[in-house]
Amino acid sequence: MPGAGAGLPAPKAASPCATIARPRTALCLAPQQTRSPEGFSLSQALVPPSPAAAAGAAGAAAGEQALVSIEGVSFAYDSRPVLTDVSLKFARGKLIAIMGNSGCGKTTLLRLIGGVVTPQSGRVLFSGVHVDTGDLKALYALRRRMGMLFQFGALFTDLSVYDNVAFPLREHTSLDEDMIRDIVLLKLEAVGLRGAAPLRIGEISGGMARRVALARAVALDPEIILYDEPFTGLDPIALGITANLIRRLNDATGATSLIVSHDVTECFQICDYAYLLSSGRVVAHGTPQELQESTDPEVRQFIRGEPDGPVRFHYPSPPIAQELGINP
Amino acid sequence: MSKKQTETLVGGFVLLGLLAILFLALKAANLASFSFDSTYTLQARFDEIGGLKVQAPVKSAGVTVGRIASITFDNKTFQALVTLQIDQHYQFPTDTSAKILTAGLLGDRYLGLEAGGDDKNLKPGDTIKMVQSAIVLESLISSFLYNKAAESPKDAGAKK
């Protein structure tokens, strides 16, 4: 892992970064004023996870306050139920994967945490605060502590790579351009795209776009990073890069990472804990090891990718002999 | 596109717009002759104003010296009461006559002032005594026909 400041031009002013010693940092952010009113200090996020937390499961460990708490949440789109009485707790500093087949409600979970949709029953707590979609100001204050990586990057196409990563800094902090430049370059360095800073969004590939989006998502060093299907549609090299980046970021910043994906192989390689959703319920959870050794048929079918099992191969239909008019 | 470039181009755009509006106001419209000078009021009564409208020009010797401020009907004298706003710079003698004239052959009506010879000038609020009403085409034609009709029997009588 490259040390901070490797290969970067000498900073114009005496950058506070140089005076702070940080173990294995790919990112470095000096604690300074931000616009968030509740006094959130960015340096909080740079504390590496304590050894005790790393050893245990990511589930509700005794005495540890969960960063995100989903309590008895039910959600339905119009009349179609998506989530039914789901309760989850995500502790700080863990890399958690939420997996399941299409339509099981994984992306909806992310939307609930981000406050994009409101649950019909139950509630979502972020760091003990209720995620209330009615109060826009409070919601925005919470969102400033989150980072989200959208499936295809969702970069602003009219801005350059540099401006995209600088966007949250310019909007939410009152840092001057020199400071912002340092931070942006460091973030891009962490994802390996510092050289691509002047490029326009139309000039970069899909994999690069996702990495730029990742740099943008962590620009303000959020407490939690939400990944919506980060492995979809990537070639093997980009896949390896992305998985590696997600893990390194999680370790370096101590942020919680929540990955929604159905790529079992990659997820199991990097996550600390995983949840398996099916038809709006949690059917299994555990460390990757536990899930791989599970004997539950639903879990086995999903993990091994078996074509037929609890999730049937055939769409419900009358017997084929009947359809073809053959009398057996 | 750098910030400076964008701002310069937008500034140019705005300048173009301002010039366009200025052009319209000065060259195309009558802003140049729009005077904020103070005016004084005069009055005149007419039997017939024709198509005279409010804001029609008041001209003397062909030069606009003021505007018609209001036109009302006096129910007692059954005449039209016309209020004029004359530019403060122009003073007219008390025996000035006011005529309702037509600009061109079929143009709009305006009020023409012909100065008299008196040494005393009209004061604000005065009424112009000598007036000539508008010439209405129908009356002109009917009086012409009447004259013609009156003429022919006389001629016929004289010839006989």
Binding site: R144, Q151 | A25
Partner: protein
């Protein structure tokens, strides 16, 4: 479809139209609420003025010239019959400043700037850019929509004035330089007949009103478009149609209010 189902369909359509109208009104009020926020970030508005105004200059200028030329030719043909060809300047100026300038500029604006706004917002929505902005705790209505609204309202009067001026100059070229009318009469009749407040002023008011309408419609339709390529394409055509109809309807109302004799 059976005949009996027809009234039901019409009724549902009417209700849907009412709902859309209500939703649009709330959106409009919301947009107005966020205007001050946009005005506090002038650079965003300036960038949009460049995108909307500067980029429309060529089509507005070309159209203004074309309309001025045609007005001059047609006007001369008719006026010369009554020996009034000296009034050509007046004819062209009044027609442009009062009516053709504001209306044609608005229609062209809807076609060029309106569709680009709709497509831009629609694509931003389908590319999840607006959702990403929301997740970054930046209100897209303040950051994206309101600056474009401000820019549209600002650009319309400017473009309208430029249209009228180019038209008048083009008419001058035809009337005086080519046909040989007297330039003095051309300008003096115009100055005599065109009132600053009543004609030029009302023309500017019209362009502002049209600007508000056309820009709002473009932004609304783009924001509410379906997040698919077909949805965006449908939205851009709808912008042109709805903007044009609304502009023409507003023109009728404004002309009735402004230019009919009291």
């Amino acid at each position: 479809m059976t005949l009996l189902a027809f009234p039901g369909l019409v009724g549902r359509r009417c209700l849907a139209l009412l709902a859309a109208l209500g939703h649009a009104t709330l959106f409009f009020v919301d947009l107005l609420r966020h205007l001050p926020g946009a005005l506090r970030r002038p650079y965003l508005c300036i960038v949009q003025v460049h995108a909307i105004g500067n980029r429309s200059l060529s089509i507005i200028g070309a159209s203004g010239a074309a309309v001025g030329l045609v007005l001059a030719l047609q006007g001369y043909m008719t006026l010369s019959r009554y020996g009034q060809s000296d009034s050509l300047g007046l004819l062209v100026a009044v027609a442009l400043v009062r009516e053709l300038g504001p209306v044609l500029t608005a229609l062209l604006f809807a076609g060029r700037a309106g569709t680009s706004l709709t497509a831009e917002i629609g694509l931003m929505k389908s590319g999840e850019q607006l959702a990403a902005m929301e997740m970054m705790a930046v209100d897209p209505r303040v950051r994206v929509l309101a600056p474009r609204f401000v820019a549209g309202i600002f650009c319309m009067p400017v473009l309208g004035a430029i249209f009228s001026v180019v038209g008048i100059l083009a008419a001058y070229v035809i009337g005086v330089l080519m046909i040989g009318l007297d330039p003095g009469q051309f300008w003096s009749q115009m100055q005599d007949g065109v009132d600053v407040v009543k004609d030029v002023g009302n023309g500017v008011v019209k362009t502002v009103v049209f600007g508000v309408a056309a820009t709002f419609i473009a932004l609304y339709i783009g924001y509410e478009s379906q997040a698919t390529p077909e949805g965006v394409a449908l939205a851009t055509t709808r912008t042109v149609v709805v903007s044009s109809l609304v502009v023409l309807f507003l023109d009728f109302i404004l002309t009735a209010l402004m230019f009919t004799a009291p």
